[in-house]
């Protein structure tokens, strides 16, 4: 790692990188031809090619958002990004067939081990495409579809065509347009009626190359009265130049279905992470976003739920950690579009060493949605006076029967807490680690245990060596 890169990112554990052994690599920069080439390479149906081109045109016309962190957004040089990179010619279902350097990366990230222990299926994406994919036989037998998105489009074009872009159209925002134009990889999941996937399925996204753009596209459909827990993790090497991760995730929970989508985003601090995530919950369905943002340079991401059917429920639990040079602009959006829908939003953020975390929230209750309940809690913890935390909540309430609660707090670690913990034998860094882990506990306890342990370790490491 260069000194410059080190200064920028500190001690990021997953900052290693492998040699770039790509089999296909597009030249940097974006054009209609690049978009068509990606589609041609993947041998896609015409409707998808057309959609990509339309989205590309929209992306070019659409101005940058004029909110969030505009200065940082304007640093993105779209001409200096590689939009497609294939590093393996096939998606394997046996780790031993995955090229050694890539396999080693995922070994270091602990993926094969986790798969054996507690996962129902795994997809591992390296750069633009999945290099490994597997699903437990029993799930397959029950008719659960879990594929990488490219294979999903090939094998189940009708389902994909029916739902793709219905929750997040390419015109939603500039980055959903970009994703629709150049998407590659991601997961495609369909859970049949009444099937409960008991073990979580996981996707792991890894960017290895410099100035890489990763644009995965995920579509999860849970049919009536089914349930699934999907977990994603992300890391990237530390470089002194920037990469871009711009995903689109669409969830559809049919009547009575439940989807939980958990993310631990730990990109290195040179990655722009601009992601659109949204789910539709039909009658009595539940969508839960459990969203952890630890890494990246700038994250702008607001997991959203459209409560479309009566009695649907949304749960968004998010945490953000903003260290030196990082801005986490995260939050949640819940739209109560039907009567008697309920939602809970819990957002917790920590800023340290000049980092900035923002909560940006939207809560909407439409005029016809009577009997809705929502609770929003935002807590911010500042670890020093150089850091920044801000809150931008928006509420649009069109129905007077809505029962809404909103609580917000900003706190600092007190000298009394530190003295107390240090008098029990903890160093200052250990004491900070304990306080920080405790602050995130309402989030951590929602994660599978393996993730919770890993997250706690990660935060403890973040606290070490940077106590002034």
């Amino acid at each position: 790692m260069s000194d410059q890169a080190h200064d920028a990112v500190g001690d990021y554990r997953f900052g290693f990188h492998d040699p770039e052994n790509s089999t296909i690599r597009f030249d940097k920069g974006l054009s209609e031809q690049v978009v068509r080439d990606i589609s041609a390479l993947k041998d896609e149906p015409k409707w998808m090619t057309d959609l990509r081109v339309k989205a590309y045109k929209h992306f070019m016309e659409r101005p940058m958002p004029d909110w969030g962190n505009c200065d940082s957004l304007n640093e993105i040089n779209f001409d200096n990004i590689t939009y497609f990179l294939r590093s393996s010619d096939a998606t394997e279902n046996d780790w031993s067939d995955v090229p050694d350097d890539i396999k080693n990366t995922f070994n270091r990230l602990g993926i094969p081990e986790a798969e054996q222990k507690w996962l129902g299926g795994v997809t591992a994406q390296y750069e633009s495409e999945a290099v490994y994919h597997s699903i437990r036989e029993d799930l397959e037998e029950q008719g659960v579809l879990f594929l990488d998105m490219d294979s999903g489009l090939k094998k189940f074009p009708d389902i994909v065509k029916k739902y793709f872009g219905t929750v997040i159209p390419h015109t939603d925002n500039k980055f959903s347009a970009l994703n629709t134009a150049v998407w590659s990889g991601g997961s495609f999941i369909y859970v049949p009626k009444g099937v409960h996937v008991e073990m979580p399925v996981q996707a792991y996204f890894r960017i290895n190359a410099k100035n890489m753009g990763q644009f995965e596209r995920t579509l999860i459909i849970a049919d009536e009265d089914s349930s699934i827990h999907y977990v994603e993790g992300c890391t990237a090497p530390t470089y002194s130049t920037d990469s871009l991760h711009s995903a689109v995730v669409e969830l559809i929970a049919m009547k009575g279905a439940k989807i939980r989508y958990s993310t631990i985003q730990n990109w290195s601090a040179n990655v722009f992470n601009l992601v659109t995530k949204r789910g539709v919950a039909h009658e009595k369905a539940t969508i839960e976003w459990v969203d952890g943002n630890i890494g990246s340079k700038l994250t702008m991401k607001y997991p959203a739920v459209l409560l479309k059917g009566e009695g649907a429920h949304a749960e968004v639990i998010s945490v953000a950690y903003a260290g030196k040079g990082q801005h986490q602009d995260a939050g949640a959006k819940v739209h109560h579009l039907a009567p008697n829908t309920t939602s809970n939003i819990l957002s917790k953020s920590i800023s340290k060493n000049g980092g900035r975390s923002s909560y940006r929230g939207m809560l909407q209750v439409t005029p016809k949605s009577h009997g809705c309940r929502s609770k929003v809690v935002c807590d911010a913890l500042m670890l020093d006076s150089d850091s920044r935390s801000d809150t931008y909540p928006t509420m649009e309430v069109g129905n007077p029967t809505a029962d809404l609660e909103h609580e917000a707090s900003v706190s600092k670690v007190s000298g009394d807490q530190l003295f107390y913990l240090m008098s029990r034998g903890f160093t200052e860094a250990e004491a900070m680690g304990l306080i920080v882990n405790g602050f995130f506990e309402p989030f951590t306890r929602e994660l599978p245990m393996e993730y919770a342990v890993e997250l706690n370790k990660l935060l403890e490491l973040e606290m070490e060596g940077s106590i002034g």
Partner: protein
């Protein structure tokens, strides 16, 4: 004759906070197995004394010295003092949201012990200590001091003391606000650590001393120890207050 082992020796201690003198020439020696009680009015500097011994960064020692196990303490930070066997039971224990008591205790005990602690042995030790203090196991999954009553907080302080097994136990008004049963339990904890430790109890009340037998009772007034006696002194203070003590400082 048993060898007397010195735990704490304070010589002519002067302490200020933000330029205001609070302790003004205090000397005190505590040996292993001894219980010292400090009584005095609010504002006499009693809690300051406990905090200074533990190393609170807000207090400045302007004169004098504190020796712990015959070594000067000055260079040691708070956590190093804890690891060297000092323990402070807080008057107002602090809430640590989201941190479970069980996790906290294990990490704390591990931080002061040299050898790695073993799961089963640790659990047994913890169970024993909790039954001594008549504590319910459900406390282990609660967050540290979060939503605890005054009595529960103090009991948790004593549980920590038993688990950390200190050489010097400083108890800052641990008895305040406790009912008689809780008081008896706290006393039981103190009596358990005393044989191998030196103990300094700061209190306003004589009633704890029905269950814990002090070797010395000191009266602290305006930053100094003005009078030292045995257990009978505590009774006298409880009856007569502090006004009868001559507050004219020695020349």
């Amino acid at each position: 004759m048993a060898k007397v082992s010195e735990i704490l020796r304070i010589e002519n201690l002067h302490v200020s906070v933000e330029g205001t003198a609070i302790i003004k020439g205090l000397s005190l020696t505590i040996n292993q197995g001894e219980i010292h009680v400090i009584m005095g009015r609010n504002g006499a500097g009693k809690s300051t004394l406990a905090s200074v011994i533990m190393g609170h960064p807000a207090y400045e020692i302007t004169e004098g010295e504190i020796h712990y196990l015959s070594q000067p303490l000055e260079q040691l930070s708070v956590f190093e003092r804890a690891r060297a066997g000092m323990f402070l039971s807080f008057q107002y224990p602090v809430v640590i949201p989201g941190v479970q008591v069980g996790t906290f205790l294990k990490k704390s005990v591990q931080s002061v012990r040299d050898e790695p602690i073993k799961g089963r042995a640790f659990r047994k030790e913890l169970n024993d200590a909790m039954s001594t203090l008549d504590m319910d196991k459900t406390v282990l999954s609660r967050y540290v001091n979060d939503g605890f009553s005054g009595g529960e907080k103090k009991r948790l302080e004593i549980l920590q003391m038993l688990m950390l097994n200190p050489k010097l136990a400083l108890l800052d008004e641990t008895d305040s606000g406790l009912d008689i049963d809780a008081l008896r339990i706290v006393a039981k904890g103190i009596n358990q650590v005393v044989p191998q430790a030196g103990c300094l109890i700061i209190t306003h009340y004589q009633r704890l001393l029905d269950h814990v037998k002090p070797d010395y009772v000191h009266v602290m007034i305006d930053g100094q120890i003005l009078l030292t006696g045995g257990p009978e002194l505590a009774h006298k203070l409880e009856d007569k207050g502090y006004d009868w003590i001559d507050v004219t400082p020695e020349a």
